[in-house]
Symmetry: C2
Subunit: 271 residues, 2 copies
């Protein structure tokens, strides 16, 4: 892995990513030596930098480092962490500060093939996701809610767990965005106050538009999900997974428009 | 500083404290080579460990390491960070996991003497503090809200800024707990859903009880604060600071019971 462009795997204790979770990250699929959906990940990283008041990072330098690290890797997971760097007494951030970039490669997870052929089983966790308009949407390093949610979801029969906010609106999976189909339309949770705006979620929204499939960004509660015709979750590594069952309620993935799924899968896996 | 008891200041990139803010911390005053309010800090750390599902740490070992590090330091700030350690794929924590303890000493901040003789000026920030019952009260490492709030508060005339939740109830300062006096009673925000339950806050509540001063834990909004007779903030390092003014509204610290202040100050600075 690379820390500010140099090989290494140790970071100073003073790094604000450790001290306060003061940073951002991106997780990307790597195929044939290249990161997938690079521009979309970099656009989200830039939005996060603005939200946190980081100076804009050099995306060309980052790309150069990433390509060097990914070369000769046919299939891997790339994680980019950008922290505010060291310094600043207490919570007050140094200005302008000197962010630290950490780039690492990880083995591709061995998701079972049935996730794609039959779909996954999901539950709903007790851990709630907080509401904060200023941080919602960004992939920042404050992820204790997801850690606690995931901790609940270690039942091997569940591949993902859905998280609700304190109003009991379903926001997302612990590591994915959620979509449901009803009639001829797609519905996905409003992320104005909670959750991470996934790059594959963005793709689904665009491709639904291209295919003239109505897509509504709205509040969804548990009862509404139970009345869906089909459901799917997305993220940059798992791609597009249909939901076979939510608790005991089963869904039929044949109700997912084939062309939508095909185009999303293709876009996700194109380096 | 010490990492798992050994001198060093580098931590592995894989540490979950960095990856997800998956950890806890404590900040203590050190006087005459000893940490102040040790038992109270350890009790809060233990509550945090339970909340996050960490195995309980060895507090005697921690105390031994802390005493070795603090020896010969007359006045300093001690920071203890306890992360879930390395490992676990994605958000799912390793079970039982092997937490990493980081102990560091820092210079005592040079707060102006007027903070204590005249009180401090405070503002209210726009950054909101999120609500999450499961994480409220604990001093965990997800502190981006405080970082963003503190970033707003870099006006030199303001020593602290108050944070509200999305219901516009005032919860705390960026690094302190808040109390107001009205008539013969003390009021302090309810931290069931947001904020950190400070060890000095706990002391204030106990000492108010000993002095038979009514103390109410309740919702407080901006208008209510403006109607206070006096106000003060507390934390383990600044101790007890009266608020001279909130925006342009001035408060008279003479309305703070002298005995309460005296006993809290004494307890805070006793090693």
């Amino acid at each position: 892995m690379l820390i500010n462009g140099k090989p290494g795997d140790l970071i100073p204790f003073s790094d604000r990513g450790l001290q306060y979770g003061d940073g951002l990250f991106e997780t990307l699929a790597v195929r044939q030596g290249r990161p997938c959906l690079w521009q979309r990940h970099m656009a989200r990283l830039s939005r996060g930098e603005t939200a946190l008041g980081f100076p804009p990072s050099d995306k060309q330098l980052l790309e150069k480092e990433v390509l060097a690290l990914c070369a000769e890797h046919d299939l891997a997971v790339l994680k980019i962490i950008l922290t505010r760097g060291s310094g600043g007494r207490g919570y007050a951030p140094p200005s302008p500060g000197s962010p630290r970039r950490l780039i690492s490669l990880h083995p591709w997870p061995d998701y079972p093939q049935t996730w794609y052929s039959e779909g996954i089983h999901v539950g709903i966790c007790r851990t709630r996701i907080g509401r904060n308009r200023q941080l919602a949407g960004y992939k920042h390093l404050n992820r204790l809610e997801q850690v606690l949610a995931r901790r609940e979801c270690q039942d091997d029969s569940l591949s993902e767990c859905l998280m609700m906010d304190e109003r009991e609106k379903v926001i997302c999976g612990t590591q994915s965005n959620l979509f449901m189909l009803q009639g001829n339309a797609i519905y996905t949770p409003d992320l104005t106050h909670s959750g991470i705006a996934g790059v594959v979620r963005e793709l689904v929204i665009e491709i639904a538009g291209q295919l003239s499939i109505p897509l509504h960004i709205t509040d969804l509660d548990r009862d509404r999900l139970m009345s869906a015709d089909a459901m799917f979750v997305t993220n940059s590594v798992m791609g597009f997974c249909s939901v076979a069952a939510l608790n005991k309620r089963q869904f039929d993935q044949k109700n997912i428009p084939r062309e939508l799924r095909h185009r999303v899968e293709e876009a996700c896996s194109t380096a």
